[in-house]
């Protein structure tokens, strides 16, 4: 329970976000999203709308974005669904932030494969850079969250920062990554050891001839 976000004061967020509405570009996107679902099934647009709204809030606040209650209610009105039903969705998914976050939302995976791969070092690096779990750094740059499996186990340990995954980390690489982000330098998402996607680390151990071109192994099968 301790990790449940503290929903910010209602009166304040209502004053700040009560007038939330789509920007013209997002309006076009929203129309396109809504058109994907048949009439009477507008509720299906809950998640894409919440995502769009969070991004718009992010753009307005120069952060990753979050979902103030009035924004959730705006989304509910857009799709004609009771507030509670959209609120339930927003609280269920961890990619929706219910409290303000920093410019970079650092989500460190701590589930078993990442833990075995060294996610403790990643967290230590974050901690030494001044990040602490569930909090935003005073400069408003980083918010640290420990999350469960993000589905990149072959490249453990990993973090997700905003929309990008950074994989094959260790203490030094994480520190370098955070420094680069803090200084505004360009960073490369994906594996930080240079391997492609989730190819085997250290090169393939089987099907080696398939690396560069297609190869027919069938003739080599023992009959």
């Amino acid at each position: 329970m301790a990790d449940a976000p503290k929903i910010p004061d209602e009166a304040e967020t209502r004053a700040r976000w009560g007038a939330f509405a789509w920007t013209p570009e997002n309006q076009a996107k929203a129309d396109e999203i809504l058109a994907r679902y048949p009439k009477g099934r507008e509720q299906s647009a809950s998640i894409p709308f919440l995502d769009l709204a969070q991004r718009q809030v992010g753009a307005e606040t120069q952060t990753q974005g979050w979902l103030p209650v009035p924004v959730i209610e705006y989304v509910a009105r857009q799709i004609g669904v009771p507030y509670m039903r959209v609120f339930e969705v927003a609280t269920f998914y961890t990619m929706f932030n219910l409290a303000p976050v920093g410019k970079y939302h650092v989500q460190v995976c701590g589930t078993t494969p990442c833990l075995l791969g060294g996610s403790d070092d990643v967290l230590a690096a974050c901690k030494n850079k001044g990040l602490s779990k569930g909090h935003t750094t005073p400069d408003g740059l980083f918010t640290l969250t420990e999350v469960e499996c993000l589905g990149a186990c072959a490249n453990a340990p990993m973090v997700q920062i905003n929309d990008d995954n950074f994989e094959d980390l260790d203490y030094d690489k994480t520190t370098a990554l955070l420094e680069a982000l803090a200084e505004g330098r360009a960073v490369t998402p994906g594996s930080q050891t240079g391997r492609r996607d989730s190819c085997p680390a250290g090169g393939p151990t089987s099907l080696k001839q398939m690396v560069d071109e297609n190869h027919d192994y069938r003739g080599e099968w023992a009959s």
Partner: protein, 666 residues
């Protein structure tokens, strides 16, 4: 129809039945928490696991599994026993062991089922989860640590009450049931979630720490807060009614009750009239029964006497008054206190002919001048059911939130003569069309709606779609006993009776009776008592055995739960005693004799059950005109009992008038 074997016994079950229902048909008890026969199936508590062959070799949730032909079901195999014990152990992991301080104790599903199906001990020695309390309004008290997430309350709010304000937020172990942003739930049926909750997470706030269920005396009776005639059970201890709970009656209230039915009972011990009063020098002074009777005798009214009844009166009182007036030579009887004067020559034309249960099967519904949600919440839930089956609903009147989507045609009764094309089309193709006329629309729209009954062909073989919705519990009984003048209460006032009896009538414009000697026979010191010359303390619905006729013409009888306070007496005995003083002794000495006489006078009241009235509507002016204004301005404060109830006052202040009590709670 599928034939299944339950523990070796063959039973035939209806098509579409679940395995759980099949087991119940075979007489086997299946423990359950999330499954409820009147709600949708969730299948998330896993308590109803049984072994089913053919099927995967693991226990299956019987509530969500359709019964199929030649299925073999085992409810007492070792696998099932183990599975139940396992589920129960998991449920109890985070459930606090605070039964001694829990209001649900003694009537708790979790308690009972852990006794019957659980292990004797727990193997869990980690910390338990704790959840903060949620605010849900003045009726529902929450202790959310006890919640086992069965989601019955969520499904009730969404499906029956139609108020989607309760939900489950967060997920996994952190899942919590809450009302939206912890605001009060704005439903007039919210109290039902207390009954639905299988544990002590949602309990009744006004009843908190009042009593244990085994201390209470349980009396079956009929509710009088609206004209639905909700079957209730009054739980009393000593001389006080502590709570009212609905009793299952599928024809009337299913198993629901409105918040007013449940929680107005704390008004029964407040502002009560417990001794007679006589007005002396303009002030009401406490008196003895003899003095009060002498004051009435001194009026020497002869035959110039009238009786006007209120909304909560039983038929026995009405009949005793009618008999007294008849023996004095008068028939000035009226019950429509607020001045309504609709035609009562045919009871079918002022009755809810479709019946409450029949409403569910309607496929086109037109509401004329009725705020159903307040006038009869439990009829409103039936309309929600009809809509689920595809019914179209149109409404004439000021727009209100009925918890479902109705097409509002406007607030003008002349619309009845020229219904829009879409309404005509819907009614043309309807097999079971239905019109519900509210009391407010009877003035300008009685004739017009009766004309509609003809043009829309509402009355057909086996179906009568013409309905008038009364809001007063005494109305239909009063009309059957003849408490109606042609011109309504204005006729009574015009006759200027020397002596006027007001039987629990509080909504009358008493200035019209300035020339009459006013005798108030009732139970609460409300407007009626304040205007009276003599006040005779009577019994409330909880304190007498009474017969009530609900809005569909169902004659129902309730028992006495407690005795009236102080010198107060049952109303019919007051009239009987007074009749002797006035020299017109009534011919009955016991309630049974009274009922026998009433059965002779009005044969429909001789037996219980649904009465149907022959369809012979009067011919009235078919032109509808005028606007409607709903008679109920405040759902929670409609009669003397609710007005005396602190719970109802708080509901009114908080839910209807937006006063904020959230901080003051506990």
């Amino acid at each position: 129809m599928p034939i299944v074997k339950v523990d070796g016994v063959e039973v035939e079950v209806p098509q579409g039945a679940t395995v759980l229902q099949a087991c119940e048909l075979a007489g086997k008890e299946i423990p359950r928490f999330c499954y409820h026969e009147r709600l949708s199936i969730a299948g998330n508590c896993r308590m109803c696991l049984v072994e089913v062959k053919p099927g995967p070799p693991k226990p299956q949730a019987s509530c969500a599994l359709p019964a199929a032909d030649k299925q073999e079901i085992f409810t007492n195999s070792p696998m099932v026993k183990n599975a139940r014990e396992g589920v129960m152990e998991f449920l109890l992991i985070n459930h606090p062991l605070d039964c001694p301080i829990c209001d649900q104790g003694g009537e708790c599903d979790l308690q009972d089922q852990s006794l019957a199906y659980g292990r004797g001990h727990s193997r869990y020695d980690e910390n338990k989860r704790a959840v903060t309390e949620k605010y849900m309004g003045p009726i529902v008290k929450t202790v959310m640590t006890r919640c086992i997430q069965c989601t019955r309350c969520i499904r009730f709010a969404e499906e029956v009450a139609g108020v989607e304000e309760i939900g489950a937020v967060y997920r996994g172990e952190n899942m919590q049931i809450t009302s939206y942003l912890e605001h009060a739930v704005t439903s007039e049926l919210s109290g039902n979630v207390v009954d639905l909750c299988p544990v002590g997470a949602l309990t009744s706030k006004p009843y908190a720490f009042e009593a244990r269920p085994w201390e209470l005396r349980k009396t079956l009776t009929i509710d009088v807060m609206d004209a639905v005639g909700t079957n209730i059970r009054l739980d009393s201890r000593g001389r006080q009614v502590l709570r009212a709970l609905p009793v299952i009656n599928d024809d009337v209230n299913e198993e629901w009750a409105s918040d007013k039915t449940r929680h107005a009972v704390d008004g029964l011990v407040r502002r009560r009239l417990d001794r007679p009063y006589v007005r002396k020098d303009g002030k009401l002074v406490a008196a003895s029964w003899d003095e009060a009777f002498a004051a009435i005798k001194a009026v020497d009214a002869g035959s110039s006497v009238a009786a006007i009844h209120g909304d909560l009166v039983d038929c026995e009182t009405l009949y005793a008054a009618k008999a007294l007036l008849a023996s004095m030579g008068s028939s000035l009887l009226e019950g429509r206190q607020t001045g309504m004067d609709y035609d009562t020559s045919s009871l079918a034309a002022v009755n809810f002919n479709t019946t409450i249960a029949g409403t569910e099967t309607a496929d086109a519904i037109l509401l004329v001048g009725t705020n159903l949600r307040w006038e009869a919440p439990l009829v409103n839930t039936r309309i929600r059911k009809a809509i689920k089956k595809g019914a179209k609903v149109f409404a004439i009147g000021p727009e209100v939130d009925l918890t479902y989507r109705a097409t509002w045609l406007g607030n003008d009764l002349s619309l009845l003569g020229k219904l829009p094309e879409e309404v005509a089309q819907a009614f043309d193709s309807a097999k079971r069309p239905m019109v519900i006329v509210g009391g407010a629309a009877l003035k300008g729209g009685h004739g017009a709606t009766l004309a509609l009954a003809k043009t829309l062909n509402l009355v057909r073989d086996g179906w009568n779609g013409y309905n008038v919705l009364h809001a007063a519990a005494a109305r239909n009984g009063g009309l059957m006993l003849g408490f109606a003048q042609k011109g309504g209460i204005a006729d009574v006032a015009a006759a200027n009776p020397k002596l006027a009896f007001f039987l629990g009538a509080d909504e009358v414009d008493f200035s019209k009776f300035a020339g009459s000697f006013k005798v108030y026979i009732g139970h609460h010191g409300d407007k009626g008592a304040a205007a009276a010359d003599v006040v005779l303390p009577g019994a409330s619905y909880a304190e007498k055995s009474g017969t009530y006729v609900n809005l569909e013409g169902r004659v129902q009888r309730g028992d006495r739960a407690v005795f009236p306070p102080g010198d107060a007496r049952e109303d019919w005995t007051i009239l009987r005693a007074l009749s002797a003083v006035l020299g017109h002794t009534l011919p009955f000495d016991t309630l049974d004799e009274l009922r026998a006489a009433m059965g002779v006078d009005t044969p429909d009241l001789a037996t219980l059950g649904l009465k149907t009235f022959a369809w012979n509507p009067p011919s009235l002016d078919a032109a509808g005109s005028g606007e409607v204004s709903y008679p109920i301005k405040d759902f929670y404060l409609t009669n003397a009992i609710c007005r005396a109830s602190p719970t109802m006052q708080r509901c009114s202040a908080e839910i209807l008038h937006g006063q904020d009590f959230a901080e003051a709670a506990e």
